[in-house]
């Protein structure tokens, strides 16, 4: 059965970005629906721990311009300065708005919002570390997501929960007219016909084996965009978080180091002092992850296989740990069998965040292809989008900010620009391709098992496209991933029933993951320099002459095009290129 729905706008994704967008639209009385494959508060925003950045100056003097500088430097100058200005300038208002909605921020003694230091966040253009990251203990994402969901309940936003989007609807003119989705509970298809489609589908960290990401982070938005021939930007840039729990992958927030925790190697040495003499443990994530990897390579790792290092925080004392890092204590006891009040936690760089994504303007409109022309009716916000504020490396606590600033911007742009917009007619046979794909998965005609192929894909990406990247491994990796893509076209599942068929869901997700993996490794292979999180053994230096450019991966033929970085901010002077030292 195919159900049919019509809306002014549909938001695909009920995480922080999606809910901030829908809130903007619902508050204005727009006919908006949020479609989410999980209940909104199960979205991965819920797992964000450390906090959300804004120059509130609640602890010490602070300016959004300093935040802007830090973000540009953190991005290794690949972030677009206009987008970064927009984000940092609007950060404080966005945080106050969350507080007004009821978000239970921690407080300073004067009753203002509590802020903690985070990696790369500094005072006066790099002088020293600053407390800029607003926090709710180590559960900031949880508090933010629940608050946004609650606001949407108040606004009576319409939700389609446990519906998974499968394909974009795009007509001959290239305009986006909505989405084809599958209702998990019934197995029915739905056509969501809308004037505006907003993707807020989150990250895709599940292309790697060791990941801090949830099972649902499978890059569905990118997969759908790629199948609709929309190019993907800067996909070689993946952030490895320095402190995932060794073996389990579960994240330990940078807030631990913000509160005074530090890393040690097997000699009990505070090795970050060697790699980043000034910022030490609070250097940017790419820097810390490389340092850890180097320590392990040099034989100073810890753990049974000597492949991690220790994060020690017992010196902070039980009281502070219980008050500011209670979730971390809980996680460490559960997943590392270690009580951080007494012992150090074994950690390892673990894939965490996708800096690239679906290219967009400052208003969230999707830009397509080499021309970078806006796609009519199509928006993307949050981790699935690339505006680009994070460039080659995201600073911790800038992502939650990105969600709400650009979620609002996209919502507002829709309100401002699509008043008189009419619903275009749907193309003929709009569901055909999707139904064919579903039939194939059900057909049992081939023997490709999604679990096996998925494991192979994750292992391949881990080996061929990790913290350090080697030319030969990249070449081989690309061949392997292409081969896996052929196999993934022929996935087949044993269970063909309709009701809540999670085997089908996993197969469909894998068909998205492969698009993301391919874009990642192809873009990584092509970029012959080291910048931010992309570190090439054969090109160890940043090369601004040739590579101060964003990658645009064309999913149609796997080719790459480039567009220059926007060095001109909106209102302030440009921050010139500098060598990046911490």
């Amino acid at each position: 059965m195919v159900k049919h729905f019509e809306f002014d706008s549909i938001v695909v994704g009920g995480g922080g970005a999606g809910l901030r967008t829908s809130m903007q639209l619902a508050a204005a009385g727009e006919r908006v629906a949020v479609i989410s494959k999980v209940f909104p508060t199960r979205s991965h925003t819920v797992a964000a721990q450390g906090g959300i950045a804004a120059a509130l100056a609640n602890v010490s003097d602070d300016k959004w311009l300093w935040h802007m500088y830090d973000t540009i430097k953190g991005s290794d100058y690949l972030g677009d300065q206009d987008a970064i200005e927009h984000m940092c300038k609007n950060a404080a208002a966005a945080i106050y708005e969350l507080e007004h909605m009821g978000m239970p921020f921690d407080r300073n003694t004067d009753g203002r919002i509590y802020q903690r230091p985070f990696g790369g966040m500094t005072k006066n253009f790099g002088e020293s570390s600053i407390s800029r990251t607003c926090a709710v203990a180590d559960r900031t994402g949880h508090a933010m997501l629940h608050t946004l969901y609650q606001k949407n309940i108040e606004l009576k936003t319409k939700f389609f929960i446990e519906w998974i989007g499968l394909d974009l609807i795009r007509d001959e003119d290239g305009d986006v007219l909505g989405l084809i989705a599958l209702e998990l509970q019934t197995g029915d298809l739905g056509i969501f016909h809308a004037k505006n489609t907003i993707f807020a589908t989150g990250g895709a960290g599940r292309i790697f084996q060791a990941s801090t990401n949830a099972f649902i982070n499978t890059g569905d938005g990118l997969g759908m965009a790629a199948r609709a021939n929309i190019s993907l930007e800067d996909m070689e840039f993946w952030q490895f978080h320095p402190t995932g729990i060794l073996g389990a992958g579960v994240l330990v927030t940078e807030g631990v180091r913000g509160e005074g925790g530090y890393l040690i190697n097997s000699n009990r040495e505070r090795f970050m002092e060697r790699y980043a003499p000034s910022a030490k443990d609070l250097a940017s994530r790419d820097v810390v992850s490389r340092a850890i990897t180097q320590e392990v390579i040099d034989g100073r790792g810890v753990g049974p296989n000597k492949d991690g290092v220790y994060l020690t925080l017992s010196h902070l004392g039980e009281e502070l740990i219980n008050e500011k890092l209670p979730g971390i204590r809980e996680i460490s006891i559960k997943f590392a069998n270690v009580d951080p009040v007494k012992d150090p936690v074994p950690v390892v760089p673990t894939v965490h965040y996708m800096m690239g994504g679906i290219p967009t303007t400052l208003n969230g409109q999707v830009r397509d292809g080499v021309s970078q022309k806006e796609v009519n009716g199509f928006y993307a916000v949050g981790e699935c989008a690339c505006v680009s504020v994070h460039g080659a490396n995201r600073l911790g606590s800038n992502s939650l900010l990105d969600l709400i600033v650009f979620g609002k911007a996209a919502g507002q742009h829709i309100l401002d620009s699509s008043k008189n917009k009419k619903l275009k007619k749907l193309p003929k046979d709009v569901t055909k391709k999707t139904i064919d794909r579903l039939k194939k998965i059900d057909s049992k005609s081939s023997l490709e098992n999604p679990r096996e192929v998925g494991e192979e894909l994750r292992a391949t990406m881990q080996k061929h496209c990790g913290v350090f990247r080697f030319p030969q491994l990249l070449d081989e990796g690309l061949v392997k991933v292409n081969e896996l893509k052929r196999r993934i076209r022929n996935l087949s599942i044993q269970d063909n029933s309709k009701v809540f068929n999670t085997a089908r869901t996993e197969a469909l997700e894998l068909q998205n993951l492969i698009e993301v993996a391919l874009a990642t490794i192809a873009s990584a292979k092509n970029r012959e320099e080291s910048r931010g999180a992309h570190s090439r053994a054969d090109f160890p230096k940043r090369d601004d002459k040739s590579w101060l450019q964003h990658s645009l991966y064309n999913p149609k033929d796997g080719s790459l095009a480039y567009r220059p970085v926007k060095m001109k901010p909106l209102s302030v002077k440009s921050f010139p290129l500098k060598e990046r030292v911490y």
Binding site: G102, D110, Q185, V250, I331, P450
Partner: protein
Amino acid sequence: MKISIYRFNPDTDKKPYNKVYDVKRTESDTMLLDLLIKIKATDDSLSMRMSCREGVCGSDAMNINGKNGLACVTKIDELKKPIVIRPVPGLPVIRDLVVDMKQFFKHYDSIDPYLKSKKKPPIKERLQSQEDRKKLDGLYECILCGACTTACPSFWWKPDKFVGPAGLLQAYRFLVDSRDDAREERLDNLDDPDRLYRCHNIMNCADVCPKGLSPSKAIAGIKKMQIATKKPKFKTIKKIFHVQESKK
């Protein structure tokens, strides 16, 4: 290692049944969820919800050896063998371990789970003292997993009427927020023999909550507020409540 799992697929099964799986446990399998994933790799028809695998998203509440909990943070070592898994009780089963949570969320919506402030907020943040902020601890952390509500006999008895521990915990979270101005209205909304006073302090909720929260304490708090701020409409209920209080 043997695990018995409740199975029911409305497409193919007339009746639910229990299927016993024999899985080989390896060193890296620490949590129950690890084993369930392994089982699903051999039998892809097994359905359950899961996402974060670290106890923050609330997807994988299930009944484990007779007690509700999250599979992703339940250590295999701490479970009696053979392990017996069922969906959480008290809600309709959609399939296998997946239950229909609509009723649960309806109650959540019914307590108006959002801040109501009548004053125009300042340009910056509203001030809140550390003390007032502390009052929200033990309340705001709820992940809406439903383990508590579906472990509550009062909820099984009146699932359409009793708000249940999770909903009431959130009601209390807003009642004690110094920034909220709707205390009267919120208390009125709950001043009902079924919505609030169905709670008979059985305490299953606090016993199962994977986040260590105590809905039952919150409910007692609401009842106290009802008495302190005004006369409850339901005099008899007031009496029952007093009896319970004095029994403790």
